[in-house]
Amino acid sequence: MGRETRAMQDDETTGPAALWLLDGEALWGRKAGAAGKSCADCHGEAAKSMKGVAARFPVLGSSRDKLINLDQRINVCRVELQKAPALQLESREMLSLSAYVGRQSRGMPIDIHVNDRTQPFLDAGRAAFNRRQGQLNLACAQCHDRNWGKSLAGNPIPQAHPTGYPIYRLEWQGLGSLQRRLRNCMIGVRAEPYAYGAPEYVELEFYLMWRARGMKMETPAVRP
């Protein structure tokens, strides 16, 4: 990440992601759904209750048979507790809330633990990371494990640590989730991307977060 991009990320009040954080803060306190409850009614002040939460996602869902990421967890609250329609993934509202919740973990180390129940998902994510795919027949690992630091079309190849999602990506001129970024790479190797929220994405997210365990959260980060 360049010096200028870093400066944008560190500028909390007038960095571009501030617009989403303000929306997220407003949504946190807004009552929604048939239950007439806001996030704050149950969780109180986000700075306390959501501290470190984003660093632990994805987690097992309540049914224990699949992983859910932070966005999907927000929708569980919306549908089951607020009795409101689920927010569309990648919508402005969802990204704002997810960035606001993630913001509370800024500076905290990613804290992913694997147990017997989650081990199969980690294995699936690792397999996906190492599996060649698309017309270009490339695996994630070929760029991000073996060739990081080199250039791809003039841009440095990063190690693919998802420390700052949702990110403000200058190329997008807006906020986007890790799944949108994964979709971007999949289109890049000319593979068919999954639909947003697909279990394959969440498993890959889980593996990437586990791979980045201990690294500090930067949500919402700015990337070129």
Partner: protein
């Protein structure tokens, strides 16, 4: 309602140069892009930003299609007396956003 953020010191010494940072949430659609069906997406940008300090214009900028979304405009002015600063963004399709901030000069 348009979302804008303005960051400036609340207090300054007389004659001090203060930095003002403004951020406006806007797509800044250039008017050169096309949809997947080949239709031109009409231009929709902020065209002008002004800042007046106690009613006197101290900064003005014209914005053009090449400027990125969510434009951040940073400028400086001299703190002469206590008062209000009024920021105004205007643009295509009747876009208008205002923000006022107070500055105390000691």
């Amino acid at each position: 309602m348009a979302r804008v953020v303005v960051n400036l010191p609340g207090q300054a010494r007389r004659g001090e140069v203060i930095e003002i940072r403004t951020l406006a949430g806007h797509d800044m659609e250039t008017g050169f892009r096309r949809t997947q069906l080949g239709e031109l997406i009409p231009r929709n940008i902020i065209t002008r930003f002004t800042c007046s300090y106690n009613g006197v214009e101290v900064f003005r900028a014209d914005l053009h299609p090449a400027i990125a979304a969510n434009p951040l405009i940073t400028f400086t002015t001299v703190a002469t007396e206590s008062g209000t600063l009024e920021f105004r963004w205007t643009g295509d399709n009747g876009f208008s956003a205002t923000h006022t901030a107070t500055l105390t000069v000691v």
